[in-house]
C-alpha cells in the first residue's frame, strides 16, 4: 500500500535523524561492556533494531542517546545472564565442548588496555583509567564520555542516582590520586588544591 510505504519512509527518516547519529556513542559503550569488537558490533546492532521496533516509546525531544544506551545496557544484561546460564549448564554436564567454545571467545577478546590504547587519550589518563574498577570506569564513561546527567546514567545502569554520584566521586578521587602520582613521578609539583 502506498500510504504504508510513505509512512514507513517517514518513520525510517525520523529514526535516521534522531537515533542513528548516536551509533558512535553506542559502539563506544558496547566496546566498554563487551571488550570485544565483534560482540560490540552485534550488541549495537541488536540494540538499534530493538530501538527501531519500539520507537513509539521514545518521547520526542528527550535525550535519545540516553534512551538508546538504556536499551543497549538492557540487551547486554539479558544476553549476559543468558550466556552465564548456558555456561553453567554446560559445565554441570561436564562437556569438554564447553571449554572449546570458550577458547576462541577469549582469544578474540581485546584487553581493556588494547581498546583504551587505540583511543586518542593521554597516556597517564589511560593508565589511570585502566586501574579503575569497571563499574567506576562505566560511570565516568556515561557522565563524562557520553555527557549524561546523573539521572540519565542511573536509568541506563538501573541503579539509584545516589549510586551514580558515589561511583563518580570515588572514580574521580582515584583518578586525581593516580594523576598526581604520575605527575610526581615525572617531576611535576602538584598545584594548589590538587591532592
Amino acid at each position: 500500500m502506498a500510504g504504508s510505504k510513505a509512512y514507513r519512509a517517514d518513520l525510517r527518516g525520523e529514526f535516521s535523524r534522531e537515533a542513528l547519529p548516536h551509533l558512535d556513542a553506542l559502539y563506544g559503550a558496547a566496546l566498554h561492556l563487551t571488550r570485544n569488537r565483534d560482540e560490540a558490533q552485534d550488541l549495537c546492532q541488536e540494540a538499534m533494531l530493538r530501538a527501531y521496533r519500539s520507537f513509539d516509546q521514545f518521547a520526542a525531544g528527550t535525550n535519545c542517546r540516553a534512551w538508546l544506551l538504556t536499551i543497549l545496557y538492557n540487551v547486554f544484561r539479558n544476553g549476559y545472564r543468558r550466556h552465564q546460564r548456558e555456561h553453567l549448564a554446560l559445565a554441570q554436564e561436564g562437556l569438554a565442548r564447553a571449554a572449546q567454545r570458550q577458547e576462541p571467545l577469549s582469544a578474540a577478546s581485546d584487553s581493556p588496555e588494547q581498546l583504551l590504547a587505540e583511543s586518542r587519550m593521554e597516556p597517564e589518563v589511560r593508565a589511570a583509567l585502566e586501574r579503575l574498577p569497571q563499574e567506576f570506569r562505566g560511570a565516568l564513561m556515561l557522565v563524562d564520555g557520553q555527557e549524561l546527567s546523573y539521572q540519565e546514567a542511573a536509568q541506563v545502569l538501573a541503579v539509584p542516582v545516589g549510586t551514580v554520584r558515589s561511583r563518580l566521586s570515588r572514580a574521580r578521587g582515584l583518578m586525581r590520586q593516580a594523576l598526581a602520582e604520575f605527575a610526581l613521578q615525572h617531576g611535576f609539583k602538584p598545584r594548589p588544591g590538587q591532592e
Partner: protein, 247 residues
C-alpha cells in the same frame, strides 16, 4: 562544612552541576571562604575535560553502519499497522502518550502551564512590565521574593509582553511571562518545585526537556529550586531552535 567534607562528598557532583537547593547553598557558602576548595573545583573541571576527551565515543565501523541501514529497511517498526487502522491506532497512541505523561512528566506543572497558556491566549493582563527581560526579572524577583531569570527571546523575534504573578491555593506562587512573535506566542511559567509532582530530577538542573502534548510544545527546565516551563503552539524543532538561539 570543612575542606575534607567538600572534597569527599560534594566536589565531584558540584563539578558536574548536579547540586541544587540546600547542598548548592552550603557548598557555595563554603567555597566563598575556602580558596583551596575553589582551586580544587577548578582542577576537577579540568579533570572532567580530560576525561571527556579520553572517553569520547569512537567512530563505529563503517560495516556496522551499512549493515544496520540495510536491516532497518527490512525491519517492521512499531507503527507499521497504522495505515490499516489509523483511527484506532491514533487513539491507542494518544492514550499511551497520556499514560506516559502521567508517569514521566511533572503533571501538575504541565497543568499549571497549560492553564496559564490557555488563559493568556484569551486575555493577558501583565501585573508587571519593563522594557527588557532583565529589568522585568528584577521587578518580578523583588515582588515574588525569590530570584527569577527571565528568557530573552528577542533574538528569535519575540517581543516581551509582561509578567503576571499569581498566588494560588496552598500558597503557591506562579509567575507567567508572555512573549509574542510573528508565528505565535510563548508563555513562560516559573513556580517553586517544592510540592510539585516532578519526576524530572534535580540532577538534570539546567537541562531543557522538550515534549509535545495537548497539541502544544513544552520545554521543561529545572532551575535550582524553581521549575521553568515554556508553552507554545510552535513545533518542537522550532522551539529547540528558539531555545538554542536564546540560551
Amino acid at each position: 562544612m570543612d575542606h575534607r567534607e567538600y572534597i569527599d562528598q560534594y566536589l565531584s557532583a558540584h563539578a558536574d552541576r548536579e547540586l541544587d537547593g540546600a547542598e548548592l547553598q552550603a557548598v557555595t557558602a563554603h567555597l566563598e571562604a575556602c580558596p583551596p576548595c575553589r582551586a580544587a573545583l577548578e582542577h576537577e573541571r579540568e579533570l572532567k575535560l580530560r576525561l571527556r576527551q579520553a572517553l569520547a565515543p569512537v567512530p563505529a565501523p563503517a560495516a556496522l553502519r551499512a549493515r544496520l541501514e540495510a536491516q532497518l529497511d527490512h525491519t517492521p517498526s512499531a507503527y507499521r499497522f497504522l495505515p490499516w487502522a489509523a483511527a484506532l491506532a491514533l487513539a491507542a497512541l494518544a492514550a499511551f502518550a497520556i499514560l506516559r505523561l502521567d508517569q514521566r512528566h511533572p503533571v501538575a506543572a504541565i497543568d499549571l502551564a497549560t492553564a496559564g497558556y490557555d488563559q493568556a491566549l484569551h486575555h493577558f493582563t501583565p501585573t508587571l512590565s519593563a522594557p527588557t527581560p532583565a529589568a522585568l526579572a528584577a521587578r518580578v524577583s523583588r515582588q515574588a521574593g525569590f530570584a527569577v531569570g527571565l528568557w530573552d527571546f528577542s533574538r528569535a523575534g519575540f517581543k516581551l509582553v509582561g509578567s503576571r504573578i499569581e498566588h494560588q491555593a496552598a500558597g503557591r506562587i506562579v509567575i507567567y511571562t508572555l512573549y509574542r512573535g510573528p508565528q505565535g506566542s510563548i508563555l513562560c511559567m516559573f513556580t517553586p518545585r517544592a510540592g510539585l509532582h516532578s519526576p524530572i530530577a534535580a540532577a538534570s538542573n539546567g537541562t531543557h526537556h522538550f515534549m509535545r502534548a495537548n497539541g502544544l510544545s513544552y520545554v521543561i527546565t529545572p532551575a535550582g529550586s524553581l521549575l521553568c516551563v515554556l508553552v507554545s503552539r510552535l513545533s518542537i524543532p522550532r522551539m529547540k531552535e528558539v531555545v538554542r538561539r536564546c540560551s
